[in-house]
Symmetry: D3
């Protein structure tokens, strides 16, 4: 169960930009008396399906279309599999076609890429996290697709999580000051995470009570050393910075908690799909 009401504003925007004042070709040709037809959405590549909330919202603008779901979000589908059928006036189906596919192809791309990475982590307790490097307006939907693929979500926005970076430390004067400001200001329900660049900074952060640390672009050796601090402190470790599949293999044996990857959303590519009458 999930709540995407906020994240779905983009569906309205997408429909509006694709049809600000009607579909002139369809209006010119169709009389409105056409027989009901059935169209199917097929995939031309195997993938993990994601996008139903956006698809459903887009289709709902055309009350004459009945949407049948053959494969729900999270299903793995093969070339030629039918994901949905849309039954209704052909004019309505033509109007929603491009918008529906634009969402479904992009979100399935993200879920598919995430699933591939999650599979690499199988058998470990390491979780894969996304970032805020999402397509503008698509934040909630893309993070939903990451969850569909088996990943976990990092912050949704600057408003819902504390992550102290280098500039914050500089403004606060020290790591200790920065963490204390956050502990005082933030809700008592929020953890404090801080990005550290070396072990000295890590130790300072742990002394000041950080709940977790982000190790950005550190060597595997340094990360291993950081993990050693868990013997004396309770905190989580997130690793990030140009994470490739090869790099993941190196990180697997370490006692880290999270790996975050911008590429899950910014470089997932699209899955080729088509709508056929």
């Amino acid at each position: 169960m999930f709540e995407l009401d906020k994240g779905l504003e983009i569906v309205e925007l997408a429909l509006k930009e694709d049809m600000p004042a009607g579909d002139i070709t369809t209006e010119a040709i169709f009389s409105g008396e056409e027989a009901i037809v059935s169209a199917r959405v097929e995939t031309r590549k195997s993938c993990v399906v994601a996008g139903f909330p956006a698809v459903e919202k887009a289709v709902r603008h055309f009350p004459d279309i009945e949407l049948s779901v053959f494969h729900g979000d999270g299903d793995f589908v093969s070339v030629g599999d039918i994901i949905y059928t849309l039954t209704g006036n052909p004019a309505s189906i033509l109007k929603v076609e491009r918008t529906l596919l634009n969402f479904l192809q992009r979100l399935s791309g993200i879920a598919t890429k995430t699933r591939a990475v999650v599979n690499l982590l199988d058998g470990t307790r390491i979780r894969i996290l996304d970032t805020r490097k999402t397509a503008p307006g698509m934040r909630h939907l893309e993070k939903y697709a990451v969850r569909v693929g088996g990943g976990h979500n990092h912050r949704f926005s600057l408003s819902d999580g504390i992550l102290i970076k280098e500039n914050h430390i500089r403004a606060a004067g020290s790591i200790e000051n920065a963490i204390q400001h956050c502990q005082k200001y933030a809700s008592h329900l929020t953890k404090v995470e801080i990005e550290v660049e070396n072990l000295a900074q890590l130790d300072e952060a742990l002394s000041a009570g950080a709940n977790g640390v982000l190790l950005d672009n550190m060597s595997t050796e340094e990360i291993a050393a950081a993990c050693g601090r868990k013997e004396n402190h309770s905190f989580f470790i997130e690793v990030s910075g140009g994470i490739s599949e090869a790099r993941i293999a190196e990180l697997l044996p370490l006692n880290i908690d999270y790996i975050s990857m911008g590429a899950l959303t910014h470089s997932a590519g699209i899955i080729d799909m088509t709508l056929l009458f």
Copy 2:
């Protein structure tokens, strides 16, 4: 000169989704008395820059930031080149950072990919066109990036151009009927383009007065034959369907007018850039 007022709604949405209720880390740490700083946006890959209208609109929400442009849209930049500097409160710069980069990296990716394809067509009169396979909400900005890269825009939406497809023909009963309906319904300022599957359909379309044809997934031989019809008719030819760079080389000698490529927008990837204090 261009008008992007409509297409920029997505900038508001992007800012709002990244900061629905403030930046809690920054608010916790910064007193508001921080010294003005200057940050620079650098590219980590060579590319054609695109995105200024979105960047400018995003930055304008932070009146204390002064934006200086070192490279405008359309400039080719190399690794390490500074594109912009932002001078203002560090808190404001941190708040706009991610949104700014998300636009700039994606739009520069599109302009860069478009430029590469345009270069392949150098010396011919063939124009490269985009499609409606754009990221939701980004239609106007992505098509702007295509123009920055030297490409041309196909329809912005279903509302601003006639393109008759197979389903329209079926609903109208014949190619002739479909074209006549469009000529009657559409504005006298709009041309009628029709997708045809073979030369017989092409001839029927030309007899009915089509202004142009879309040849989708046709062989080079068929396309060449279609071009031959130009001796007796005045019409334009658009070629589309999984166009790769190799395929473009094949098409270069033909008397076609346009090549349309969805990949310009849906598979351009991002350009790695960073904001540094």
Copy 3:
């Protein structure tokens, strides 16, 4: 079949301006327990009916009202004919009455005036076009009423058609330059129309590849000469400028394509109608 979603924003605005905070008279007197009544919308003048999309949208705000249509848009009705009946709570009917009539009376006025002009053109291939001289916010609905009356629509807005005027020519340096700029910038699906003032300009425009010309306030002789150019060029001719019924008679024999009249929308007047319980 048509799409008026965009043009109907004005219905919301009209309802809101007529009832920003309820109907205080009706609220004071009606208990909400009143018996359902039936009211009829009658015309006090013969006319061509137009306005259903606005009427239907306005009435839909009062879910208790059932709207029955006795005469649809395009029907010719005589004094005393019933166009609609509204069955529901009298309070709801009183609330929607004025807004409903304000739309219906104005749009029927436009359809009626258009029909009269269209009748004058009977037997010719000349089409009557509207202009952008519409009531603010009513553009889409008024142009719809023109279609109901048998007319055709010119541009909906500055965004959906190319029409080069004197100032554009001056800025471009020459007619040829202006047309070439437009051919390069505009979508390949858009025709280029240009306003010319004399035959020399006409010839320059045709050489540069204009798809059509607007002859504004030209004499019948000049227009006839312009029509002669059709022997050697494929282009359309639109005539405009203070077109009266007498003037139309003069134009009938000429080989022109379109006559555009601002008066269709700005001087159609209203049709007297009433809502009776």
Copy 4:
């Protein structure tokens, strides 16, 4: 001094409907480097000017345009008089031209018609009132134009005044009941006006404490008799129903307070004006 903030939403709507996605002709031709020009708005008919609030709001969307006012609202101007000059980029002036004129021509029409009627009433204490028969979305601006012409405004909406009509009386059971309900429900700052059809109803209304009556479509003799009731009661008399200029002459000697005319707004016509570079 006046407040038109609410009524000006229609200006946004008008601009948007005339330019939902830019002015493609102007964008194609103008480089943005054009020299500043000055254009003048001239009237081709003598009239009372009205429309400045809308004109000013529309122009304000183009910050490069400087608007100079030669004749303010309420001024009487003759053929060829310059009302405004607009100095700025020619592209901006072309974009605002049609919207500006659409407002100014219509509102000046209303002010001019109102002034003509007001002149007929010169020397009497009778005031001319408008009605709610206004163009959708233009209620506030059209009522403003009536004031500019020297008229007074009736209710702005169903929310801001009590006017009991026949259906209200029927629902309430009697004139007395209807008035009492209104006195009880309405704000103590609101007067109660009732539409009566004959002298018996008038007497019943006065006994029940009505503050004023609307005499709709009554004969001059009946109206005179109604005026006689002023000897014993304090109330106002409004006369309405197809008021022509001839009819006004008949009403002049009577002791009535208000004449209301729908034609002030629904049949004022437009004033021919033009924008010249």
Copy 5:
């Protein structure tokens, strides 16, 4: 019967501020397969119920919830009485709980306080009025609660009633001028009320034709003297200024028309209520 469409915007705002991006606790735990449950809204204090329009609008956002009303607005309820039951998914009920109670507790507080004051006035013709000292955004709902409690509403806003205060008088130059300006400007359906500070001002106001006066912070003796003016003038008297229950007792015998109390809305407190599964 009432119209609260405008006043209910605050319900959307309240729901949105309580759940801008879902209910993360509920989403984490509930599978969406939970059995339907029934929850009851109980009062922990006796009160007059008010708030149904807001409750109903809030609940309508959760289509799976069925709302049953055991006590409508205006009912007096005792400790432990059930006001509503909500039957639906427990997740939906948890999401609407706080918003529902926040409206119901506050509005019932206002209705209850109003009812207490109205009871003090029992047997007199004096009416109790509210003021504009309402919670931001809650104006329409709080004034509705006052009506539910048996009170009457003063102005809803600055837009719907004339009330001349000291600063207006100063700007106009004299009481007479101020009243005349208002009589000329205001709708003929609006009464003119003026705040006066002493009997001399009262007399000046009555001579100028004021329809009513507001006596703010006057002594009982002065008020009694003011009431004496009713022998020769037709006008209403409103008394205001720190009205306590003791003060009301003093005012009861006087021939005043209205008492206005800001405390009805700004100091009503809340009624303790709870939602129980």
Copy 6:
């Protein structure tokens, strides 16, 4: 430094509901040529001032008003102290007066009540928290006023914090299940708090890894026992449920972390203030 952009929508709504269509009294009387005046906002009760962000936003709608701040948010002021002066057109000041005071009086009431409670906790490390029992639409501003008074904020909404209640536990099957679901679903930056009813539940929650517990309506003895668990577990304790000042005295010696009080916002009352010319 803080960010209230979201929370300030209510200011627009408040201005609009107080002046949907202008201030008719002021418009009737003021010519617009009035001399600039200076008005002062004075308090009639000593209090802690809060409300500047709302005041500033409201005043900004009247660009002619210059706002001078004599006492900022958080200042303690005494009877008769001037908080602000507003210098500008008297008409503008009259229009903003009521809205400004409605915000300032309510928010200062909350800050003042919070300060009083905070003073009781002086010398302890216990923090006072607000709840979600805020006026609809005022959530962000009221929570800001709590901070101004020295308190801390609990969750802003259901979207930004995990708090497991009885119904969640029932749906999950057990305390352990509920906590595990939340740890899995929630962001790694969010702590998990759970409401427990007795020590057995507390122990179960601590074993399952809860980061904190809410003890609602527990006896002082039970709370003391709960505090004892801190010897073996790292977690925080929040106490709530009808907290009075007397009760706070009892809680002072205990090793609790937070006390939450709905009364801070729902029963703070208003501070009497006035605007004087």
